[in-house]
Subunit: 566 residues, 2 copies
């Protein structure tokens, strides 16, 4: 190993703070700021200080190595992108306010790349002309920009962030499946090397389009995603992506629908109580406007509608809740008493729990009345079945029926089989073996490089502070000179010898800082090994402490060096 | 050395082109596109293909190593920056149309960082509180954005480009001088390692402000800068930065000024001819408007005024040429006959060649008349002496008087002693040893990382194409399999063995491509060593060619391996 540098804390730009920053809500935000790894420059916009930059570079290196290992070719695309290709795929508008748009001095429209499907598609269109040029995997590690509505949680959700994005280009669906599998394996290796605890979860494609998609989620309290894990089988999915099969019931024995007076029942709860039935026996109908058209959404009375899922279903149309004004001139819509039966002018979307043959108590479309024995498929038709309810702890696993466990998690990776969406929009063909053009099929794959740093901080931190896995830590050893001259001399001597052996050393050689503060800072900064030149320095005895386990041992200098260079 | 990867050209995204791109004017632009290193994404916005990315990464690594060697600490600041600090230093406006400005979803003003003095100043204000925290050198290698009026010359002058920028923070002028000297040395090492021919030239500070400044210029026909080199002493300067000392003449024997009729002399040339004097005996007075106020600029009649220098002198005021309308209501200004004598309401700026005591023929401020024997300091006063003429080949060296040589060059580095301009604007103090606040003094230093790639291409290319120095080349050896199965087999075998020894290999294993095309591509791509598995492959004999010298040798495989792994 080559000579590694010694970082002297007396010179290092890494001011630690005793208190959490006032605006910090999540652990990684608090600790990364307090330990001097990052600083806020503007809302959702961060500066990486020297220690933070080292961790970031370590993550970047691991990602690069694993992308190279699956034959990925590294390129670097610009962040400043012209409008036209994003116009061609519709994303210039679809991205909404999340896209940073700007004009150049000539008034031309540009955007700051949130992700680069369009530009990679054009690049391959320029570079590949024949089936012989494919398959190919291209990747970049690049700064991305997204104007998040609520940039929060420190670097977990920034408006400028570092991402590895890659794109695969194949001739066939089988080829795409293979490129996808290669990425899946590479991501597993990356996250294992990073020391992250993660789950691979079924996911929705969202604004990206395409078919199959999985997320790599790192369980953490600070996470913005919720995923469901089956305690019995290997099912795991983002709750946004859970879908149930439609299981029709036998409703043939249900008596005819019958109106029942229900005065003083303004809510599902009061209705259920007055009728002596569980809320789950009632059918709740939520009205929304989809690009201005009123649509009804039906779910069991005990469940909440997940508006994100409704929006995803109708995207790119916009979805709004109805207001009192929307009922004007609509005698067919009786507020508080909507039922799907007889709602002829309104599209009806229902959760699969409202399967054909199931029987419900629901609004009678008349003031003060409900109807019982309303059977789906007999008394009303469902225009589309969509999984729109908020998934709850204990909901059945779609695969084996066991009650699901829910957890918060951070999305650290996402892989997509895009198919031909972008190739169609931008006309990406190559000449096939038979001389005829073949439309290319694509995949797109992302790892949040800066976010992975935050996820690691979240998962590995303890009461004392950060606690990095060895491969990403900003140094291998944190040498503390307790304060006296003999201690500082020994600390610097050991640091030099470790560095000469290729060990990355951070040495706390600050003058006028108490040993207590130095120990606290060492714990906070989270380098895996802490070596203290303290009380017994004159005898050549030092203390070696494992940051994670807290185990400490007194060793001679030679023993310590042997241990750390092993 | 670790196992290096083998890049197979059958899979590599690096399409070569036979013809120069239609819009390419300069050599590096033509060759980097033709050899498959870069592609244009938008005006002044470029994509780095795999080979280009490798060269870029090599330059980046060299810069990083040399910055680390002078104790620089690497950080990473955002590109998306808030308006306020740039407002505080005045650069939000001063940068003019070159600054990319944008709004976020809440209407907040942001810019894309063209350079980061303000943000580093604020960062150090946050991180350093005491004299003990300084000096410090911080650097980053980061994408920068400048909305160039005429993005041209490929990656030589892009609107998005990669730059190493660093900033030094010192307590004293001596400290700043030392940080500056460290950078100067580091830059020399960087450019020497890169294999660039360069000169260190005196420079102007421009929009950056500050005092002392030098540029690292790489001579190249495609350069946008002109520098003057003294063939006799070691003087070298950007022509924009050349200044002459004022050398007063003895004008005591000059007769009194005398008006002379000069009909039909619309130009300096016709005037000089009709009077039988050289143009250099006449004084030309150019009128400009400085923030609306008319100012006269005086230079010898045979010299041109460099408007850039006039603008630099009056910055941040704007400078415009006068129009016919500006003469209305100004009987003191007679168009075509302006002379400095008696021009009382107009500020007069002159080149040092118009030194006190020099005598001139100039306009009489009356239609059809000039004046001779007009002596500077006797007949008119100069309000300010400024070097405003366009420097010409043969002008005297300001140091030794020898005639200067002029050359075109590319600016690859620039170092500035900023002093306290930014610290004053943003109130950057630390507590001094005596407990009193000390205003910090700063330096700012840049290397154009992507531009250095273009400069290298410009300087090292030959008739056949690119020709990289070893340390930046995308591979060490370009192995060509001439085409037959035995040749391809041998080429791949050699490639594998070279890679196992840590040699970076690009192997042309393409099927269906003629040997001639492969040889041409190898020359074009410019890897330093070309190994051909050709005619004598079956005997185990290959040809090794030095890309630069063109020397070729037949060697056995073992000899070739020994040579290349030495």
């Amino acid at each position: 190993m080559a000579n590694a540098p010694v970082q002297r804390m007396s010179q290092l730009m890494a001011k630690t703070l005793r208190d959490d920053p006032a605006d910090a809500e999540v652990l990684s935000h608090k600790l990364l700021v307090r330990a001097g790894y990052v600083r806020r420059t503007a809302a959702g916009v961060w500066t990486w200080l020297p220690l933070g930059k080292k961790v970031l570079a370590n993550v970047e290196r691991i990602v690069r190595e694993e992308m190279d290992a699956i034959g990925g070719q590294e390129v670097l695309l610009p962040a400043l992108l012209p409008r036209e290709p994003y116009e061609a795929t519709g994303r210039w508008d679809e991205y909404g306010a999340e896209l940073f748009r700007l004009k150049d001095r000539k008034g031309g429209d540009y955007l700051l790349g949130p992700t680069h499907e369009e530009i990679f598609t054009l690049l391959v269109n320029d570079q590949a002309s024949s089936y012989k040029d494919l398959p190919v995997i291209l990747y970049q590690i690049q700064t991305k920009f997204r104007d998040e509505a609520r940039p929060r949680a420190g670097i977990l959700r920034g408006r400028e962030f570092l991402m590895k994005d890659s794109y695969s280009f194949d001739l066939t669906d089988e080829g795409l499946a293979e490129s996808y599998a290669l990425h899946r394996q590479a991501y597993q290796r990356v996250f294992e090397r990073l020391g992250l605890d993660y789950r691979i979860c079924a996911a929705t494609a969202g604004a990206m389009g395409g078919s199959k998609s999985e997320e790599f989620l790192a369980p953490a309290a600070a996470g913005e995603d919720t995923f469901a894990d089956c305690p019995n089988c290997d099912f795991a999915a983002n709750t946004e992506a859970i879908t149930y099969e439609l299981t029709p019931a036998d409703g043939s024995g249900v008596p005819a629908a019958e109106e029942i007076p229900t005065p003083d029942t303004p809510t599902i709860e009061t209705l259920a109580a007055s009728l002596g039935v569980p809320a789950s026996a009632t059918l709740k109908n939520l009205l929304v406007k989809v690009d201005g058209e009123i649509v009804a959404i039906g779910v069991p009375g005990d469940r909440e509608v997940d508006l994100g899922k409704v929006e995803a279903h109708f995207a790119p149309a916009t979805v709004e809740l109805v207001t009192a004004e929307d009922f004007e001139g609509r005698p067919d819509l009786v507020r508080g008493y909507v039922g799907p039966q007889g709602l002829e002018k309104v599209r009806y979307v229902a959760d699969p729990r409202v399967a054909p043959g199931t029987s419900w108590i629901t609004g009678a479309n008349k003031e003060g009345l409900h109807v019982k024995n309303v059977v789906a498929g007999r008394d009303f038709e469902v225009d589309a079945y969509v999984d729109v309810v908020v998934v709850q702890e204990g909901d059945p696993c779609p695969r084996c029926g066991t009650g699901l466990k829910l957890d918060r998690a951070i999305e650290i990776g996402h892989i997509f089989q895009l198919g031909r969406k972008y190739a169609d929009a931008l006309k990406l063909d190559v000449l096939g073996q038979n001389g005829k053009p073949v439309r290319v099929t694509m995949g797109s794959y992302g790892i949040g490089v800066s976010r992975a740093v935050a996820a690691l901080a979240e998962q590995t931190a303890d009461e004392q502070g950060l606690c990095w896995p060895a491969e990403v830590a900003p140094a291998d050893v944190h040498v503390v000179a307790a304060g006296k001259a003999v201690q500082t001399e020994l600390a610097l001597d050991i640091s030099g010898r470790l560095a000469a052996a290729g060990v990355r050393v951070l040495v706390d050689d600050r003058a006028g800082v108490s040993p207590g503060v130095k120990f606290t800072d060492a714990e906070l900064m989270g380098v895996p090994q802490i070596l203290v030149a303290g009380r017994r320095s004159a005898e050549g005895v030092v203390e070696l402490k494992d940051r994670r386990t807290g185990e400490r041992e007194e060793l001679t200098v030679d023993e310590a060096l042997a241990r750390l260079t092993a």
